[in-house]
Subunit: 225 residues, 2 copies
DNA sequence: GTTGACGTAGACAGACTTGTCTATCCAGTG
DNA sequence: CACTGGATAGACAAGTCTGTCTACGTCAAC
């Protein structure tokens, strides 16, 4: 994610900032559980008591990390999408942003998906922050779908979120950027279908039973480019 | 994933089996790191030395778990998809399978995505097993796309994999099954576009490898028809 | 009946975990 | 000057982790 990281000279900054900055790096790179307090302390050049003065428990630092990551990630995301967006393509601009992200040497997947995997309790603060992050992302995607003139931006945004999540996971597992261009293609198709066809999706829930078919339904297509 | 679990009366079975069965449950439910050797041993009612006789290290058990999970998951997947598939809809049948999976009370996401998040080293055996699992899944999806008459099953299969991964992650994070029907919708769109349009435009960045034809490739596809 | 494979029970080592606590240092303020 | 807030270094507690080891039990084949 490029400039999500350092900035000034890290040393000689208030202890709390140094701790958070180290957490941004280690928690994302190595994972939550794999990063121990001792290493966090050693690498941020801080005393243990300074750490516990600012963060009563490791979980508090994890939450601070997630919140800060949330903030920075969207600063980057909004800028990247705005830069890539064109009149005709707002949602597909997301794919271009993803491509840059996946290509970053530090890329290790989505910190919030990863956190969800590492923290068992769904009611935990960590999981709630992760869920909130994805809700915000969905809102972004819905807005982009609306800007693209989609008939049902709420549905398209929700579908787009699935595509984005899938691309992130694929990029993480394979180490390739290709999932980004794959995502671009699917997103373009979503937008195109929603612009041409009437309603593209079950606006809410599909009551279809396990044997229900969705087969035909050939009303949406060209998808052109 | 329903019948992926026990079967006979667990106690009174060879120690190795009891260990693996416990691992299937705990590793998936609680995660790799969060599940300690001691708990594994206690819950499978086995002595520590019996454990280390069969699995020289925890990592060996993790790999055994992943391989067994791989096996059982595809037994379930192939059966579920075969049951749901119709002449006109092979790929969308995957969504119905996912729906059943997501609705399972034990659902905790994809064990292989989760393992990838927990094991840092991309060269580790664990990561390789996870990558192989996804390659196999992609082959399945390609075959289903071919059965649906897609013009370019290799591309559609690859895109479908992104959709499936995204749906899994969304279901895991939200605890809902809706991502399954969302995925059904996107998959139907993929198939429809590929059937009508010529080629589904492998985005500008894809260097157009000419290894198209996949259908003939010898995959292991039990999918009837 | 002895042998050997396989199992159990549980102590132990050594590293690493989060978190507490003492003791010291130093910069700024009154 | 003394005081104080915030930082430091590092010992320590109590628990967990993986992995080793000894000692004993059981059963089947030879």
């Amino acid at each position: 994610m490029i400039n999500i990281t350092p900035i000034g000279d890290i040393a000689r900054r208030p202890a709390r900032e140094r701790i958070v900055e180290t957490a941004m790096r280690l928690f994302y790179r190595d994972g939550l559980r794999a990063t121990g307090i001792d290493r966090l302390i050693a690498e941020s050049g801080v005393a243990k008591m300074s750490f516990y003065r600012h963060f009563p428990s490791k979980s508090d630092l994890v939450c601070a990390f997630l919140e800060e990551r949330h903030r920075r990630w969207f600063v980057w995301f909004d800028a990247a999408v705005a830069q890539e967006a064109t009149d005709g393509g707002h949602l597909v601009a997301v794919a271009s942003a993803l491509e840059a992200w996946f290509g970053d040497a530090e890329f290790r997947g989505c910190a919030f998906i990863n956190a969800t995997n590492e923290v068992a309790d769904p009611a935990s603060r960590e999981r709630q922050i992760a869920a909130a992050h994805k809700r915000d992302l969905e809102q972004r995607l819905i807005a982009l779908a609306a800007a693209d003139g989609c008939a049902d931006p709420a549905v398209i945004g929700r579908l787009a979120l699935i595509v984005v999540e899938g691309a992130i996971v694929r990029a993480q597992m394979t180490g390739n950027v290709q999932p980004a261009s794959d995502a671009r293609h699917v997103l373009a198709m979503l937008v195109s279908a929603s612009r041409h066809g009437p309603t593209v999706a079950p606006s809410s829930r599909t009551p279809r039973t396990s044997k229900g078919r969705i087969a035909a339904r050939g009303d949406h297509q060209p998808q052109g480019d």
